[in-house]
Each structure stands twice: as C-alpha cells, then as structure tokens.
Amino acid sequence: MKTGTMVAAVLAGLVALVCTVLVARQNGSLSVQKPAMKQTKEVKDHPKIAPHGPYPKAVFDESVFDFGAMQFGTRKSHTFVIRNNGKVPLEIRDGGSTCSCTVGKLTDGAVPPGESVKIEVSWKPYAPDDHFRQAAIVWTNDPEHKEINFAVTGTVEKIASIIPDRAWDVGLIADGKPVTVTGRIYSRLLDEFNVLEVSSGNPHIKGEAIKFNAKELTGLNAKSGWTIKATVLPGIPVGRLNATLTIKTDIKNQATETVAGEIAPTADASRNASYTLAVTGYRPGPMRIVPTAGITWNAVRSTIGLGSFRHEEGRTAKLFVYIGGLQGKQRIKVLGTECDLQFLDVQLDTKNVVSVGNQQRYLLTIRIPPGKLRMSRTGSDPVKVVLKTNHPELPVITLNIIFVSL
C-alpha cells in the first residue's frame, strides 16, 4: 500500500473513531448534559407592540372571579370585559389557558378605541379542590398589559365530605372502657340531607348521628351536616382492631362503592349515597414495644429489625417498652435471659423508669458489639431472646431479632 493511501486510510480511521465516540456518548449512559429541548412546533405570536405611542389601553374591572363553591363534574362560566381606553386599536389574541379544564372564548382581533370586548371563560374541574384556581390568558398590544390572566377561583366540592376523610383511627382502646370518637359529614352544596343509619359489621362498634347546630355549620362553612359518633365497646380482643363503619344517607344521584378503607361516590341516579370507612384501633396487652429511628418492630411476629450494618462497627438499638398491669411503685424485673447468639446483649433498664399514664416506660437496649462475625439473621432464622420476668401477666417475653451484619 502506498504512503499516501496509508495516510488517507489513517485519517479516515480517525474520523471514524471520532464519530464512534460521539455516537457512544449520545447513546451511552454517561451523564453528559444534553441540550435543553427546543420547542420546534409552531407557536402563536404575541401581538406586536408599537415602538412608540400612542398605545392602546386595556382596562378591565376584574381579572379574578371567585365562584364560591361548585360541584365537581359540573361546568360554570363567567364573562370578563376588556375596554380599550386608548386612542389606537387594541389587538387581542387568545393565549391559551393554565389548564385544559378552563377555556376562554375569544376571537382574535382588534378592539377600536372606546369599545369593549367580552371574554367568556368556562371551566369544568375534574376533581374536588379546596383551592381551585385556573386562568384563561389574553395577549394584547398594550405594553402595560401584554398578557392578562383572567382567573377563576373557588372551591370544588364533593356532594358531601367526611372528616377525617380516610380511615378512622380510634387509637388506644383501654381495657374495660368504651372509646367514643366523633367525625363529621357535611355538604357545602346541599341545603339539607339526612343520615339514615350508622352501622358496623363489628358487634363491638355502635354508631349514631346528630344533626349540626348553627355554630357547627358556620364552623365548616357548610349548608348541612351531621356529627357521627362511633363507640368502641369493651370486649374487643387484644391486638389491632380492623372494622368498618357505614354511613347511609338520603343523598340522591350518587352511589358509593362500598369498599372498605376509602370513600367515594360513583354516579348512579337510583341509589342513596352511603359511605364506608375503615375503623382501626389497638387494644394493648400488658406490654407494648415502640421502635426508635431506623429500627423496625413487628408486633405480630414479635420481631425487632436492626437493619444492615458493618460488622466492624456493630449496632446498638434502643427501644421503649411500655408495661402495664403493675401496681403502685412495683417495677418489672428481669429474672433471667436466654439468647441463642452468645455475643448479642439485651438489657432492660429497670432503674430509669418513666410513668406514662397507667403504664411504665422502660428502655430496652440491644447491642451487637463491633468486630463480631459477618452474618445474616433473617425472618426464617432470627435470634431468639427470652426474658423471664416477675410480671404476673408477662412471665416470659420472647423477642426475635433480625439483622444483616456485613
């Protein structure tokens, strides 16, 4: 091969190499900054502003309309007016809107001096919203009002709202004592509605409804409403309560899907609306463990998760243990400890005890010293810790400890 040919081939190879690198960078995973995407499609222009006066003068009495409350799924409209108080024509153009739920009806054109033009804005929100605000945009050639936002604002309401609006958590259910909680159902759209029944599938839960007085209506800015009382009676088993509460009303043109846990109406003209809530709570036994940061606690399996850590560093975890069922100044004592992992240390601090209501709070410390073996103890093979105590209801406390020591 001649020299010249070789040089040409080398040059061509270099070109190919450069191309390859460019392509690889564009198609590869290197975090190279790509240029910001250009808007390549056609864009409407603002009306041109004259280099010097006289200018048109856009005047409008209102640019924000508060529609108050409306029902979601319905449509409303309002008309704004722009007047041209200038001496030359005011050009106006449709600049779109802040969301497709809001439409401004405007024909592009020019408003002669001294005349007005109406802009009709209509909107149909797609979801309830306590702070609905959207705008139709008008562009003009008035240098002081190149862009005018005609906004509509207000609340978009469901036909009726419940607070709290998700699961009702009654919290701690003490032994032998009923717990009564109250929520509310109200409407900002209906002048009146009735609660026909408040019921639960759980025999330990009773419900009742009490109509709002004037003060309660004012407090919620509601037109109608009811207080809903749910009472959890003594006798539920120790552990978590998972039940439902159904509120049946005479609200027409809505029907709920009675799916426990969440509330929403669906459209069915023939049915009265009923709302089903999940009701949860917790009846503690004599002991409750509360995790601290980074620690998991599974009460069903009595499992404490210490997470992952480096074996050279070890891990110390502290948890609070709330113990009930002790009288006066009586304290729990640990009479013996068994653990199937020799170097795992478990201590219950029985000296620095804090009284919290009718319970006592102890600090439980679990320690894996630094420098021990790498190991993984998971749910199928946790470390078993057994604490023997003097508590009449808790003679034995069994804990499962899981962790990954890397």
């Binding site: 001649k2 975090s31 899907e257």
Partner: protein, 562 residues
C-alpha cells in the same frame, strides 16, 4: 455503542440500530482480482463506516419525549419558557422548596406534556450545581396520597430519591401521619448527621407515643450550607387537625398547640444564631399568615393550602416571605438568600419542571424501574392490599369475548380502538417512550384504567375484575380475558345480562321480557351518559389532558345490536 453486523447471505452490511443496508460488498471483490481489499476501496469503506456510525447516532431513538410527546403533531400555543433564574446573581444559599407531591414520581399523570417528576427535579439540582450555587432543599410533606403497601414502597422510593438529590428535612402532612408512627420511625436514620443519611422528618408540635424526647420527629434541623446556617422547623396546623385527628381518639400521634410549640423551637434556633429561620407549615394559608404575624422573626414560610398551580408570587407579611409551591410536584420554589442586600435579602422563583428546560436523570429513572420491579416482586402483597368488593350491580365481569358472541359489529369497532390495546400499552408505552419505558403491568395505579373490572376513581378492584397472572389462580380467565379497556368498563359487568338473554333464547318460561328489557336498559349507555359520567373516569386532566369528547367519541361510537 452501535453494533454492526455482517450479513453473510447477501454480502451486505446492516447497521443494527437503524436496520439500513448502507453498503453492498460483493462476495468477491472484483477491483483487485485477488480477493483482497484495494486501498481506495478500503478508504471509502472506513469513511462510510464513520459516516454510518454518525448517521446511526443521529437517527436512533433517544431518551426523552418530543416536544408534545408524540411523533409529529402540534403543541398548544405557548411561548417557550424563560431560562430558570434568569439574570440572578449567585446567592449565599439557594433553598429549593417543594411539597404536596401526592405520589407523583413522574410528571403529573402519564402524559408527556405534563410538568414535574423527580427525574426532572434532580436535573434542576444538577443545573444549580453547574452554576456552583450552594444549595439545600426542604419539603413540606404530603409525599404520598394513600396508606397502602404500594404507597409505602413509593414513600421509600421518594425517600431514596430525596436522599440522592440532597433534601435535608421533610415536614409531616396528613398523608405522612396516616402512614402511622411505627412506620415513620422505622424510616428515620439512627444517625441523622451521617453522610448520605435520608432527610429528617421534622415537626415542632407532633409527638409520637406521648414521648417528646423520642427524637422522631425532630423538632427542627439546622442546615449548614454555603457558610450560612439555616434553621428549619415545621408545624401541623389547627386548620388541618380535624382531617386527621379523630376527636376522642388516643392515637400514637399527639397534636400539640402549634403556637406554643413553635415559640419554644424558635427560641432554641435563635440561641443557635441561625442566619435564616424557615417554617414548613402544614396549614391553611390563613393560619400560615397568622403564624407569620405572630412570629415576625421567621424569614420564610412554605405553606400548604395553596392552589395546585400557584401564580408564583410570594406574599410579604412584614419581613416574612410566604410562598406555596403547588401540588403533584409540577413545580418547585427556589429562594435565594442575599444577606448583604438589606432591602431584598430573599428572592423567590416558582420553577415549572417542564420538559423544555429539564431532562431526565438516569439514576432517578433507574429507581423508578426498581420501584416497578418491587411492585412485581411483591405483587401478592401489593394486590392483596388493593381494596376489593363485589360490584354494586351484583353482576360479574365476563370479558369482551362473551360480548362478541352477540355484538359482533360493536366488537369490530372496539377492536380498532386504542381501548383494545390499553393493556399492551402498559408493557410498551407510547411510540416516543419505547426506549425508556418501564412496564407497569403490576402497578395498580396504572391497571385501574387499562384492564376490566377496576374502579379508577377509588383505585380498587371488583371481585370479578382483572387480576395479574400470578394471582389469578383458579380463575385464569381473569387474567387472560380481562385485559384492555373492554365493553364492561363502560357498560357495567355483563354476567346477568348474558344469563337473561341466554335464558330468553332457550326457555322463556324462566324469565320475562320485562326483566330482559330492563337489564338491556341498564347496560345501555347514551352519548350524554358517556360524556357526563363514563369517559372522564379515566380520561381525566392528568392522564388525558388533550381529551376532546366530541372528537374521541367518533372513534368509539357503536350501535349495540348487530
């Protein structure tokens, strides 16, 4: 790297990325006559190889949507957005503010024309870092919407994204409180100041387990950045209390008067001589304004209770700046601190996370993949946690193949529509998304509108509705026959209608014409009903922003009878 493969049979060479044959090489080179490549031919070969590589690089599909998310087509008439923070001098500190994400990991809905998403948000941080600005970030809270297993996975994904991006503190909104104290505690780091620790949950007036010294939530956080000290605290307002705290309940989380709690925390922060005092207020705007008046030492308040799309104008209450940043993560706020500017020490801009100025971030996108994979790996737990129940009509879903037996013409129309491909589209995405699409066939939030027998408003499932393959068990037809948007999603479950029609044809003594006709009326849908009550259940603003009922109706309209 683009691959080039040799096609043996034809002697040509195909570029794998674009499948074009750009050269035909004879089996036996005729120019030299001896089977070797001549010098000129070799040079041309190499040059064209380089050109092909370059062209392939330009022609191959890339990550990122086109301007309107489609190939071709027109966008809404909007001027291009101005550059972010245009003309701003470098501040002593830039604080990125966000809140009320409500679970929107990606741009609001699935539509490419929407704003937001954590991937673009991460790119905003990258751009700020490129300017060499000292940056920190705090979030108001309201990260997720629900309390399901999926919501927790999402919460954890957001936590990981926030850790990577550099968030330092998160307030507690109603959404967080509904997740429960146990769960929130387990998500907090045992050593909050260690490098790479997740952001701290903070609240001045919420106490877990009646234990103020628990350490979770933290009462405040002091963030040292750019040589300045930013004191951040948060409150849960009285105005939101009734939304979460049931009157009479003794839950694990106690609400304490925010004014008293805030006074104590502010005193503490003042002792620490912070340069800025920031409050994350989970409260209605009215209450946030009252807090600004009561505590004029606050420099900045990020408040809940604002509109989904704010106007971007901060309120000034005395010396306190009050801002909102909207919902669904479409925007973030940037506050720049200029301590030497006595007149305007704080400057605010609401930044729309649009697709023109912000690109996707591979690390965040990968985490989205991991999130979808987690939904798939733990599909059983995720699906069992989806609320379910019988359909109120009492009927069951049967699938389009049953409808087809009698309604062949309606079926023929349906088969041509995108409704028929709805499930497949979850696997492959739109045409412009194929290279970066992450399959969603085990994501309940997506399935609700892409299969039969789910309630898209409640994100719940009817007992006879679609079920993913691994859980369809004794009813495999619930997986195989209920994919896509089929007849029954609009007309209601058809089992009873089918039973009566069959009975009417086979033995009229067992039913009545009135009963048969009544059920036909029940499953009939007029155009008006469709417009008012049916289509918008899935074609909502977020997922179908260009939805035009009159236009789309023409694609799906069909007569019932053959």
């Amino acid at each position: 790297m683009v691959m080039v493969q040799r096609s043996i049979h034809t002697g040509g060479i195909a570029c794998r990325c674009c499948s074009r044959r750009w050269i035909r090489r004879p089996r036996h080179d005729q120019s030299s006559g001896d089977g070797t490549i001549g010098p000129m031919t070799g040079t041309v070969f190499v040059l064209m190889f380089g050109v092909c590589l370059f062209l392939c690089g330009c022609g191959c599909d890339r990550d990122g949507p086109s301007a309107d998310g489609k190939t071709g087509g027109k966008v809404a008439a909007q001027p291009p957005p101005k550059p972010m923070l245009d003309g701003w001098k470098k501040p002593a500190v830039a604080i990125v503010l966000s809140g009320e994400l409500h679970g929107y990991l990606e741009p609001c809905g699935c539509s490419a024309t929407q704003s937001g998403g954590l991937s673009r948000r991460a790119d905003l941080f990258r751009q700020l870092a490129a300017r060499d600005w000292p940056v920190t970030a705090v979030d108001l809270g309201g990260l997720v919407k629900r309390t399901r297993v999926q919501s927790r996975y999402k919460f954890e994904t957001i936590g990981q994204d926030y850790t990577e991006i550099g968030y330092r503190a998160i307030g507690l909104g109603p959404e967080e409180l509904r997740l429960g104290a146990d769960y929130l505690i387990s998500r907090q780091p045992p050593e909050p100041d260690a490098a790479g620790s997740p952001p701290l949950l903070i609240s001045a007036n919420l106490i877990f387990y009646g234990t103020p010294d628990l350490g979770v939530p933290a009462r405040f956080r002091v963030i040292d950045v750019g040589g300045k000290s930013i004191g951040v605290t948060a409150v849960f307002g009285k105005s939101l209390k009734d939304n979460v705290f049931l009157r009479g309940a003794q839950g694990d989380i106690t609400f304490v008067d925010p004014v008293k709690s805030l006074a104590t925390v502010i005193d503490e922060l003042k002792k620490r001589k912070v340069d800025l005092l920031v409050l994350l207020a989970q409260a209605e705007l009215k209450e946030s304004r009252e807090l600004a008046r009561r505590f004029p030492e606050l420099n900045l308040i990020l408040s809940a209770g604002g509109p989904e799309d704010p106007d971007g104008k901060p309120e000034q209450i005395g010396r306190t700046m009050l801002v909102t940043t909207g919902h669904k993560g479409k925007y973030v706020g940037i506050v720049s601190f200029y301590p030497d500017d006595a007149k305007t020490p704080l400057r605010f801009e609401l930044v729309d996370l649009d697709k023109f100025r912000f690109q996707n971030t591979p690390g965040i996108d990968n985490r989205m993949r991991e999130y979808q994979k987690r939904l798939a790996d733990f599909a059983s737990q995720v699906m069992k946690d989806v609320p379910s129940g019988p359909h109120p009509s009492g009927s069951r879903f049967t699938g389009v193949e049953t409808c087809r037996r009698c309604h062949t013409k309606a079926y023929a129309v349906w088969k041509t529509t995108k409704h028929a491909q709805a499930y497949e589209s979850l696997k492959t995405g739109r045409k412009d998304q194929k290279t970066r699409w992450i399959s969603r066939i085990r994501d309940p939030e997506c399935l609700a509108c892409h299969v039969v027998g789910w309630n898209p408003e409640l994100l719940s499932r009817y007992d006879s509705g679609f079920m993913i393959q691994e859980l369809s068990g004794d009813h495999p037809q619930r997986y195989s026959l209920l994919q896509g948007q089929q007849c029954e999603n609009c007309h209601g479950p058809g089992s009873r209608h089918v039973e009566l029609e069959t009975l009417w044809n086979q033995d009229r003594s067992k039913t009545t014409l009135e009963a048969v006709v009544a059920l036909r009326k029940q499953v009939h849908r007029s155009k008006e009903t469709a417009e008012r009550m049916v289509c918008a259940r899935c074609h909502d603003l977020e997922n179908s922003p260009h939805f035009d009922f009159q236009k789309y109706w023409k694609d799906v309209e069909h007569k019932g009878r053959d």
